[in-house]
Amino acid sequence: MSDPGADSGRLFLELGSRAAQTLARLRLARDVRVGCSARRAVWSDQRTTLYEYLPDAPPSALEARGGGGTTPAAARGKGRPLLLCFALVNRPYILDLQPDSSLVRRLLEAGFSVYLLDWGDPDDGDRLRDLNDYLEQGLGACVRHLLAAHRVPALDLIGVCQGGVLSLCYTALHPKQIANLVTLTTAVDFQTPEDLLSKWVRELDTQLLARAGRVPGELLNALFLSLMPFRLTQQKYVRLLTGRADQRAVDDFVRMERWIFDSPPQAAVALAQFVRWFYQENRLMRGTLELGGRAVDLKNVRAPLLNLYASADHIVPPAACAVMGRHVGSTDYTACAVDTGHIGMYVSRKAREEIPQRIITWLRARGRVTSPR
């Protein structure tokens, strides 16, 4: 017969040892690097920067500056540029987090000329910046710059999460500038029953919010964590005690942590507009959205469209994304639910293998003449 006192003593000894080991690994991972592909800024305006990823540069988390002017290196070659547009509420380096988990790197290896729009950090002077400013002076300016630099009439656009929503809007307003559109975890219906964020902000006073100035990123972090607080603030750490997390796994864990807690602040006016027009009034799906005095009609999105979303997404429910096909004007529309969660779309094994391959195959089938480097 076992002695309960001795059993619990052994239990605490074993788990205590695992905790000490895990803590040591976490401390070793403190300075872990995020972002792995070489890139350089080719355009910038206020906070927004357009980066070109450099396919021939050695793989490192280094950023080249100066020395090459602002003409994209890829523009010297041929082919349509491929622009990545991420959300305003998170940092885009999740798309290039580490060598074995980098959508950017996979696209570069497939021969694409890859660019990324980084929205940067709005400061107090940006507190009046609105969604149309972001769309036309941010995304639009990057698109125009690339079209001129590459001397092409249209580019390929990958919009991610909220960046996908902006990409849809931009494509609807400027359909001729977008040759192919890929959306990742992009909502069109912001009022699906599963959407907890939508329920929470339904009665938010957006007029007050718009006057609040700059909304700190920490508030958004807390909001996202509070969707599943026990899993996201407790369980994920305790799971490290299983003893199966070696130093490499802990390094990966810390990279993700860094991204999760690194949300940029938000310009209050733009955030208030997004909450009101998209979440509270569901204007995108209802066809009542106007930006800069122009109607955003999704039927104007006629470019071939690949819609990838996560089947277990707790932030953007799959049903919110799945309806896209019914509202856009694309006759070449492909939708695919990937068996993972919201963040899993960027860093899970699925993200590492299935998602880049789907995008590459789909783009190649639509006029991309590229060969692997």
Partner: protein, 269 residues
């Protein structure tokens, strides 16, 4: 020249891990402190202990508090937003403004009380779900490390289920919005007080700064229009080439043709 572009401050996973692990060990201590030799364990008393600890955590956790805990001075508030009371105190501003700010603070207190009732209900529901699951599973306690971790997984699953059920209810969602709205109103009330003080001292106010900001934005837009009269043309070489050719009289005279830049920009200002 090269440099690492990612230098943003990071709170530290080791600190977060230490806190979560400490809570896990607390739970284990509660579990193993039950009278020895009782098999199956007394899940009812364990559940009530769990509920108490859990409720305490809910009240203090920033993640579980989120925006509704962002009221000035309340536990779980996100540092810096909305800010705490003015350093000079409400009494330094005219009476009506100070009174308004105090009323908002009082309202926040009431709403926090309502929120605490939700936390209590979630904690009770979590414990009940956990006890039911343990009883259904036979209830034998496995005091190995893996057994303890499995027990913890079950507990978290129950807690998330109870939380999800409660926070989707209409009254909770409404409370969430009321808390955030009241916190934002407090922020604006405090800012108004600050403006009043600044005006009294001959300093620029927030309203004046906003007005200047709008003027600058408008001037920049006008400048951009003058220097780049047709941004779309620049972006579309093919279209630009076509435009360079003489237009047909019919097209040139077409009524209601849109300006190259489209409709004037309308900001939500």
């Amino acid at each position: 020249m090269t440099e690492n572009p990612f230098t943003t401050a990071f709170p530290g996973s080791d600190a977060a891990f230490t806190a979560a692990a400490a809570r896990f060990f607390d739970l284990l201590r509660t579990f193993t402190a039950q009278p020895s030799g009782v098999q199956p364990p007394d899940w009812t008393s364990f559940g009530s202990l769990l509920a108490g600890q859990f409720e305490q955590w809910l009240r203090s956790s920033p993640a579980a508090g989120a925006s509704f805990a962002a009221a000035a001075g309340f536990p779980g508030a996100v540092a810096g937003w909305p800010p705490g009371a003015l350093p000079l105190g409400p009494a330094a501003a005219p009476g009506a403004e100070a009174q308004g700010a105090w009323e908002l603070l009082m309202k926040l207190g009431e709403l926090q009380g309502e929120l605490a009732r939700h936390w209590s209900a979630i904690a009770q529901d979590s414990a009940q779900r956990f006890m039911a699951r343990m009883r259904a599973g036979g209830g034998a306690a496995d005091l190995s490390a893996d057994g303890a971790l499995a027990l913890y997984e079950t507990w978290v699953a129950c807690a998330e289920e109870a939380y999800a059920a409660r926070v989707r209810q209409e009254d909770f969602c409404r409370l969430q919005a009321q808390l955030t709205n009241t916190a934002m109103a407090l922020l604006l009330a405090q800012r108004k007080q600050a403006d009043t003080l600044a005006r009294g001292w001959g300093l620029p106010t927030r309203e004046e700064a906003d007005a200047l900001q709008r003027q600058i934005s408008e001037l920049k837009r006008q400048l951009e229009e003058r220097t780049q009269p047709d941004r779309r043309t620049a972006a579309r070489p093919a279209a630009a080439a076509r435009r360079a050719k003489p237009r047909s009289p019919q097209r040139a005279a077409k009524p209601g043709a849109r300006s190259p830049r489209g409709s004037p920009r309308r900001g939500h200002r």
